[in-house]
Symmetry: C2
Subunit: 709 residues, 2 copies
């Protein structure tokens, strides 16, 4: 055993080291591709090295799977069958032929999602008094033009000039090269390498380059006609708002913009107090070109986004101490390029060492981890991966993705980004609206300013109607010497300078540098944004909750915790006796009245079969009404994962399950309070394995394992 | 007083009688307009009568308002200001200029909506084990073509041929006639009446008629050019799904279709058991041409829809007895056309008398009423109005709208429609998918069928590849003599007949009428559909919850009940003493840990001002930490509407509020358990008005009203 452990551990080290190399090489390739000076050969060579590394990586991973015997292997086929049969997730509009990338949630997934959203709302919004909003999906174009979305999310497309059918240009090129090589078995390897080099860069060409290449490779549409010139295709769903058809709208690709544009109202609502967070749960839409199966890349999805507005000069968080000791699995930038190993350290250390940029960002990472644990995600399959420099937007300070491991690999499920002042800045500028917060100073501060004197006559002659705009611009800049200084310098050295498109001459304005007492400082808040992909989290939770009982591989179980489980309790009669049925109804009614979703199964199937059915949809508890119940009003309560059963008065059932669901007690406590009984799955008392204690109670005689609990 | 009451009551009778006349005349006008044989004169005359009735009605209503002194008058201006300032509802994308018909919900409305949805889910879905689904908003065209939406929701539009600007044709015509009459003060009254007659029918003309009229009235676009011919404008938002741009999609105008297309999977999930209900909560979208202010007619809205599938031969409901004694305010078809008065009768009577078509429909009406009461809607402002025959779709059996009275009048907020088999039928036919449920018979039944014999040779010669389709069609019809009989009759009398487009001749098939034992009956379920407009309900709840304190009109209160209130408790220190602040934090923390949304207000404003702020957002309870708290750990707890305060140990606060919010106890019980104290709004003990009992308790000395509450 020891030697096997050693082998696996060494192999893991090898895998980790290789993963770091792959990441490093990937970054190298991206840097080369970004740099317009890079030549195609250099890029091609780097891509080739990357591909070879990936092949070695795959070999090592296969070796690892063989070594560990795939014991915990996830049976995708059985899982997928269960997910579809129990209507967790099904393709939308199936009977009409379906639509790629659209999925419906069925009854158990709806309840699970509702519980997850409820938990999210309590964990984030309620606990921190965040300002929740619900903005519309329909978004007018100017908003998304401002945010940059109208110009982003584009892939190059071409059309068949005969039929109008559209294609992704890079995919056509890739396919054409594949076909060429396939059909030319005698092609010299050097020539082949030239083609492959072009193929590897397919997504990096300009429209003009790709147009030339499509002609070079004789790509023609299905109709036999050549393709149209390539053009960018935007991934947002476009529509038209209002009857005129002139007002372009999009379905929002994220929920955040609705919060940014409402910043001033939110700040007022919060009585001007900073920092504060706004949050939104709602739909996002992306017209994906090639949606893959499952809930991981879909065209319509639920998001939960938090925008925490904070003074860029002070990104501390008042509640940081409450999470400072929480340990997280962090996969920092340097580790991705170096050791290839994650670090498990406390949030406090991560901030202290500078690994995570600031307290607020780290605070939310910890809160996200706690949320995932709260809803029952497997902590061993969670990690935070830092964005490489090459991955981040130019304005971002630091980004960490919570990645969840599923059978599809490590999937980004929650982004944590420090987006600096970018979002408020662009909307403020586009709408000419100040979006500022105020820091009241405890003591007034001296501030260096410029005092201006204008030659109004010259200004009027030069700028006419714009005269006041120009003087206003300069006055604003003069409020802070550091912003006015470059202008002063330019006017002195060059005699003129340009401010917002206006050419200012030295004669127009004179200035003196002076100081002024200020009692408050205005600033554009930074935004720290945790952004949750609820659909991906839901899917990951389904995978993490799924297992097959060791004793019987056919028996699938979803181990949802009682807080999020779609149904909280099953109620089953052991026989179809009408008296037993009445008790079942009475218990179910009582559970329902306490808002505990209940599953009644009076079918004639065996008790074992009925337990199995309730296990499949993850019902944590099952109450069984048996012959004793009719005599003494006691019932058995079975816990799903341990299959341990306790015996308790039927009148205690609702309160016990309510308290467990509301985290006011635990199953462990219940096992201490009530006798544990052993019965087989047909409800008959079984021989007790191991030492037992026989208990006589007012509710009857029970056996209980002696070494209990 | 008595005589005033008499006057008002007589006036009310007059108003009701007139309302009936208005309804009757309205129905008359609709019937005339529908009937293509009606001439314009008759319609015009009927419309004129209707308008005169409406004028009289307005006069009576004004008289009534004057008589009752407008005491309970709703102050829209104050209400609107509050709604906007406290961010209940705000226009979307304000800083970018906004978009008509799009609104955002701010923090208190989001919490209120979440609580409302949660209550809805528990009241309907959980209690009745409905199958909840979440289908996509993006919907491919064939689905909505099948449902009829692609051909419905159209208004006639014209374009300015120069600028392309669009207009509603009927509105242009109406405006043109207004202008003509305005500019022709000497126009003879007969001529004027002719124009007005045309104006009244503006929305009833065909495209050709309206085109002619626009020319006749010399309507030209803003550019001076004539309008384009009129064309239908669909109210659905159109988009394109997938990169090709060839797959037309719409944003769903209702959520129901997603449930209908999943009927077979849902039935399987329900183990083939009938009846059952599916439900969905989600967004709907309608590209309204002229959205009015407020939440009553918007372009993006939240709906909750239930589709209850039932055997058309048996529309009883197992839980009907549980609501049979519930009284509802019903405004039946006959009363709308006759007395003009509603009837308050029990659900049981309504079904027994045939007023409501069936048990299931009536059951849901009662459940809707109970839901409205549960979330705190004013029962005096709720009624169920039956659709007139002229209002219903041809396939519908019976429809009742729950109308809620707000300052905009009686507004339809929940539809209850028995839609018969229409929805499943159209999807089954369009997709060639059987959508049937099965009734297992306790005892086999004899059934009359036709036994067929085909002349296969002749069939083959005539229909070639379609041979089997034709024989299959006939075999299906032959399974029930009643469906085959018309064909048999036609073949015998005419020698031929047409079945689904195929011409069948007598020689092709012979038959014998016989009987067969059947053990089950297949049927297309009927759909009974309660459809909730959540946005309208939310808005109505805001109005019903709003009042101004008698003592001080400036003090606005939202009387949300504790179950749905956005925040459950305010916690306020009486002074800014750090010790008091620590207790405030401790209590707030404890409330939050029990998931009770809490509002902490440590501002320096007076206690009265801070109570008023918390009243504005409808916080039902306020805990005040005062000087005594620091001595004996007791706090006061104030109830919002009565402003009664009780004194209790701070450690009891969370449990008490949790229990009230979860309906496990009441404020009345709390007043019995804890001493009532009187303090002024600055937290100082006030002189007790009326007889008091002075209580000495371990928590201090309290005065308590002698006549207990």
């Amino acid at each position: 055993m020891a030697s096997e452990t050693f082998d696996v551990s060494a192999l893991q080290d090898e895998i980790d080291a290789l993963a770091a190399k792959v990441t490093k090489q990937g970054a190298e390739v991206r840097t080369l591709k970004k740099n317009s000076a890079s030549d195609a050969d250099a890029i091609g060579a780097a891509v080739k090295v990357l591909q070879e590394l990936k092949i070695s990586q795959k070999e090592l991973l296969d070796k690892m799977e063989a070594a560990t015997g795939g014991k915990d292997a996830f049976n995708r086929q059985v899982f997928d069958e269960l997910i579809l049969r129990k209507m967790f997730v099904i393709p939308s509009f199936e009977i009409h032929g379906g639509v790629k990338g659209l999925f419906d949630l069925g009854p158990p997934a709806c309840a699970l999602k509702a519980a997850m959203i409820d938990a999210w709302r309590k964990h984030f919004i309620l606990t921190e008094n965040m300002l929740e909003m619900e903005c519309t999906c329909l978004t007018p174009e100017p908003v998304l033009k401002t945010s940059g979305h109208v110009d982003r999310f584009t892939d190059l497309m071409v059309k068949d000039t005969e039929t109008g059918e559209c294609f992704r240009a890079d995919k056509l090129l890739e396919d054409a090269i594949d076909t060429l090589i396939e059909n030319s078995p005698t092609m010299p390897s050097e020539e082949k390498e030239d083609h492959l080099r072009i193929q590897r860069q397919a997504d990096a060409f300009t429209p003009e380059e790709i147009d030339e290449l499509l002609i070079k490779y004789e790509c023609v549409g299905p109709s036999g006609k050549p393709y149209s010139p390539s053009f960018p295709f935007n991934l947002m769903f476009k529509t038209s708002i209002g009857p005129e058809g002139t007002s372009v709208g999009y379905l929002r690709p994220e929920t955040a913009q609705g919060l940014f544009v409402n910043f001033n109202r939110l700040l007022n609502y919060n009585a001007q107090k900073m920092p504060f967070a706004a949050a939104q749960i709602g739909l996002g839409f992306r017209n994906e070109i090639a949606p893959r199966g499952g809930l991981l890349r879909v065209r319509e999805f639920c998001m939960g986004e938090i925008e925490h507005f904070v003074n860029p000069a002070d990104k501390s968080h008042p509640s940081f101490p409450s999470v400072a000791d929480k340990s997280l699995v962090l996969f920092g930038r340097e580790d991705q390029l170096g050791s290839g190993k994650t670090k498990t350290i406390t949030v406090g250390e991560a901030v202290k060492s500078g690994l995570v940029n600031n307290e607020t960002l780290a605070y939310f990472m910890a809160r996200t981890q706690l949320f995932m644990e709260r809803i029952g995600m497997d902590p061993a399959r969670l990690r935070f991966r830092q964005h490489l420099e090459t991955e981040m937007a130019h304005y971002a300070c630091d980004c960490w993705d919570l990645e969840i491991k599923s059978s599809y690999g490590w999937i980004e499920c929650v982004g944590h980004a420090d987006r600096a002042c970018y979002d408020l800045d662009v909307h403020a500028k586009a709408t000419n609206t100040a979006m500022l917060a105020t820091l009241k100073l405890d003591q007034p501060q001296e501030k260096e300013v410029a005092k201006l004197k204008f030659d109004r006559k010259l200004l009027g002659k030069t700028f006419k109607g714009d005269q006041r705009v120009v003087s206003g611009l300069l006055e604003t800049l003069a409020e802070d010497w550091t912003t006015f200084e470059p202008i002063a310098t330019a006017l002195e050295s060059e005699g003129k300078t340009t401010v917002d498109g206006f050419e200012i001459e030295k004669d127009m304005v004179s200035w003196t540098k002076t100081t002024k007492k200020v009692h408050e400082i205005k600033f554009t808040p930074s935004v720290i944004e945790p952004s949750f992909g609820m659909g991906r989290i839901l899917y990951s939770l389904l995978e993490h909750s799924f297992y097959q009982r060791d004793a019987d591989e056919q028996r699938c179980v979803m181990k949802f915790n009682p807080q999020v489980a779609p149904q909280k309790c099953a109620v089953l009669p052991i026989s179809s006796n009408p008296e037993a049925n009445a008790v079942v109804d009475e218990i179910a009614q009582s559970l329902m009245e306490s808002d505990l979703a209940t599953r009644v199964d009076k079918s004639t199937a065996s008790l074992g079969r009925r337990y199995a059915r309730s296990d499949e949809v993850g019902v944590p508890f099952a109450v069984t009404v048996d012959f004793e119940t009719l005599a003494d009003d006691s019932v058995t309560l079975r816990e799903r994962d341990s299959t341990v059963q306790i015996r308790l008065p039927k009148s205690d059932v609702t309160r016990l399950i309510f308290d467990i669901v509301h985290s006011r007690t635990t199953w462990e406590e219940a096992m201490k309070k009530y006798p544990v009984v052993t019965v087989n799955e047909d409800g008959e008392a079984e021989k007790q394995v191991g030492a037992t204690v026989i208990e006589k109670t007012s509710r009857g005689t029970f056996s209980r394992p002696a070494e209990k609990i």
